[in-house]
């Protein structure tokens, strides 16, 4: 067999980790990314990464981490992969430490830990308040070493358009477009990994980088890959609302002592502490977001009558804040103007993270052999709600699974991508070329960015914290109308060089497909679980809905199947945060 070669699309934490793992095993990697990988969205992560290092004398354990994650996820995640992730987390953090991540330290030079939401012990390793940046840089550096050794070839500023799938239904490569020359090309590979991250842009404004469109996931969804648990979208309780994006104020602010409050009867009211005495300000995100929503929208008690409450760190020492939370202090000060060391920050919930994603098996392979997915674009580790600081972990950990799994897969292949009939590549190239030619000629009357704004607005209005079936129904109708209007876009810029509008118009189409998956998925699920909350169905309904949602594409819209969940380790129990979660037994 010829030289082994794989493609990794995405140079965030997950893609870089998988690349490293494959290169270590002697497999060459072509690495694709929209931007230089060092600028991937993972840099935005602030607060930290979870692992039961148990260095604080708390008797923390990987089992406790596992139980918190399953309980926090409201018993929707398949348990076995979550268990493995929590078991491996300490070793993984130590590896990152060896790579040179500037983790904050204890007085004796060991990794320090801080408290995060939904847990009782400090379990979060961190590098100031720019943990994602520091982790990503370490991975970027290791991959640069492999690049230097000739094992990795980067295609930065290239956009993945679609997978090449042959008549046997096996993935043999990709079609991608150069974002400068606009040239569309095919690339053969023995296997392809998508590590393309989240999809905040579907909601217009979120805490995500604005390259997080989910377009790649939307593309393979339209090629027949199922999208799982789309309706589970995390709303982060504490962000600074903005016109261009909502800037996150990390959960670590509360982990380090931040308190959430507003005025009631002229006095500060610490509503989280009052409602959830056992966890206080550190209830999980879905709970905190709903509480803030209730205070502002239902009770009308937001600050100055606006949809905002205070996140207050002003009682903490400035030096302490600079060392532990410097990154977010700067962001607030720079973008808001006020000094959060002196006055409370004003915050409101924002779309933040996608628990759902591309459906994969425990080895991160999709139903299309040879096509893998890992990182935020998969659906594996967080169930119905993600605990803070668990997704840097899942992004990295999933890369340590997908990378080696791909190597194992290609070792079992009987023919290499180079021996595959050329026609499959030509067909897919032609399809993409025609799509491109159609879009570049669109001279209707709609502006793609305005259409995007309309989509984001209605999604944010109806498919976030509180969901009602009639509103979801209306949203789906609106989404269909927007899809119609997409065909009437005016492309504005017809040039064949560095054309961002053309690429955005393509992404918008794919976002629109996933928006329907999210909306109809939410409409169907008549219960409340984790981030999915319907006042008309306020309880979790395990008999009917303790199932993974799987959406399959058809030209007439998504069709849904539901899959049983692997619950072999922890028996489902009701999830409450006003009292201690209680313990599950490790048998």
């Amino acid at each position: 067999m010829a030289e082994k070669r794989i493609i990794v699309v995405g140079g965030g934490l997950s893609g870089l980790m998988a690349t490293m793992k494959a290169a270590e095993k002697g497999v060459k990697v072509d690495l694709f990314s929209l931007c230089p990988v060092k600028r991937s969205h993972s840099v935005c992560a602030q607060g930290g990464i979870n692992a039961a290092l148990d260095t604080k004398g708390d008797n923390d354990s990987t089992w406790e981490h596992f139980d918190d994650t399953i309980y926090g996820g409201d018993f929707l995640a398949n348990q076995t992969p979550v268990k493995e992730m929590c078991d491996k987390a300490p070793g993984l953090i130590y590896t990152m430490d060896r790579m040179g991540v500037m983790f904050s330290r204890t007085p004796e030079g060991l990794l320090d830990l801080r408290l995060f939401g939904g847990v009782k012990y400090p379990r979060t390793a961190f590098a100031g308040a720019t943990t994602g940046q520091q982790l990503l840089y370490a991975c970027d550096e290791q991959v640069r070493k492999w690049e230097d050794a000739g094992m990795v070839k980067k295609y930065e500023e290239w956009e993945f358009l679609s997978a090449v799938i042959d008549d046997d239904g096996v993935c043999r490569g990709i079609v991608a477009q150069d974002l400068a020359t606009m040239e569309i090309s095919t690339f053969a590979a023995d296997a392809v990994l998508l590590a393309t991250g989240g999809a905040g842009m579907i909601y217009g404004r979120s805490t995500n980088s604005i390259i997080n469109t989910g377009s790649a996931a939307g593309a393979v969804y339209q090629q027949g890959v199922s999208y799982a648990n789309g309706e589970f979208v995390q709303i982060h309780p504490t962000a600074m609302p903005g016109d261009d994006k909502n800037r996150l104020m990390s959960e670590s602010a509360r982990g380090e002592g931040g308190r959430v409050w507003t005025y009631k009867d002229g006095k500060p009211w610490y509503f989280l502490e009052e409602w959830y005495p056992a966890y206080g300000n550190l209830v999980p995100r879905d709970i905190a977001a709903r509480a803030i929503f209730k205070v502002c929208v239902e009770m009308g008690l937001g600050i100055d009558g606006e949809n905002k409450v205070y996140l207050d760190l002003s009682h903490k020492d400035s030096d302490f804040l600079n060392i532990r939370l410097g990154g977010i202090m700067e962001i607030y000060e720079k973008f808001h103007g006020d000094d959060p060391r002196k006055v409370p920050m004003k915050i409101f919930p924002s779309v933040h993270y996608f628990m759902g994603g591309i459906h994969v098996d425990y080895k991160h392979q999709t139903a299309v052999p040879g096509l893998f997915a890992s990182g935020e674009c998969d659906y594996m580790y967080h169930g119905a709600n993600r605990l803070g600081a668990n997704s840097l972990l899942s992004a990295l950990y999933s890369g340590t699974v997908s990378g080696p799994a791909i190597v194992e897969y290609i070792n079992g292949l009987d023919k290499s991508a180079k021996e595959v009939d050329k026609k499959h590549f030509e067909q897919e190239l032609k399809r993409q070329q025609e799509w491109n030619d159609k879009i570049i000629k669109m001279d209707g009357s709609e502006n793609p960015y305005k259409l995007h704004q309309e989509m984001g607005d209605i999604m944010t209005e109806n498919v976030t914290v509180v969901r009602y079936n009639d509103k979801l129904q209306q949203t789906d109708e609106k989404l269909q109308e927007l899809q119609e209007r997409w065909h009437n876009i005016n492309i504005q810029d017809a040039s064949a060089w560095g054309n961002q509008g053309l690429m955005f118009t393509k992404q918008l189409w794919n976002m629109m497909q996933l928006a329907r998956v999210i909306t109809i998925g939410a409409l169907n699920r008549d219960e409340s679980r984790g981030a999915h909350y319907k006042p008309d169905f306020p309880n979790r309904n395990d008999d009917e809905w303790m199932k993974t949602t799987k959406a399959k594409y058809t030209p007439d819209g998504p069709v849904f199947e539901y899959e049983e969940i692997d619950n072999q380790w922890i028996k489902p129990r009701p999830r409450k945060y006003d009292v201690d979660k209680g313990a599950s037994k490790n048998e």
Binding site: C44, T95, R98, R105, K245, R247, L248, F335, Q492, G498
Partner: protein, 250 residues
Amino acid sequence: MSREFIHLKVKRQDTAETSAYWEEFKIPYKPNMNVVSVLMELRKNPVNVEGRKTNPVVWECNCLEEVCGACSMRINGMPRQACSALIDKIEKSPIVLEPLHKFPVIRDLKVDRQVMFDYLRKITGWVNIDGSWELGRGPRFPEKDRQWAYQLSRCMTCGCCLESCPNYSERSPFIGPQAINQVRLFNAHPIGQMDREKRLDAIMGVGGITDCGNAQNCARACPKEIPLTVSIADLNKDTTLYGMKRWLYK
């Protein structure tokens, strides 16, 4: 300052080969805008001051919170991040946007900064671990050292320092303050320092640290306030000592 419109003057260039030209725009003012959000408004209605439809301006940005380094450009002549350039704090009008001068233009405000990543390869910009498998706990590291090393490690490869350095240009061989600072970072790490000499070698000789004229512009331009001149001074010491040693034990 109250304004109805934001007046933008943008230096544009359609391709890497064609020549540059200026175009002006007026975008309705809203409070709390930044240069990125103004450019985003513009693409919803790409019309110039003469009322003519034009191509939306091309620029780079990802994070919008000054941590990815993508959106560097010259704003009123100063290299800085567009996402954190708040309109309410810019008094001058029109606001002049230009691509960074010291990197090849791809289109409009978007430039090619690949050279910065190439220099990271040149200086062995990684901790050379044996592999990513589990080997137990990493080395202990004093928190006080971690605090200054962390400052260095926040470099987001934005290029503002190179843009403002009088000794750096597309044609000069000078490696620039960004890469030199990274040498200091990797040499501070308990495992990283095992390749210390290799990195010092990389910044000695032509294009190396002695090409720095100590103009200090770089540290002033760095949006992450990285003490670049301290790094340069520190490595000047290290390279001198190492150079002597290398000479003595040749």
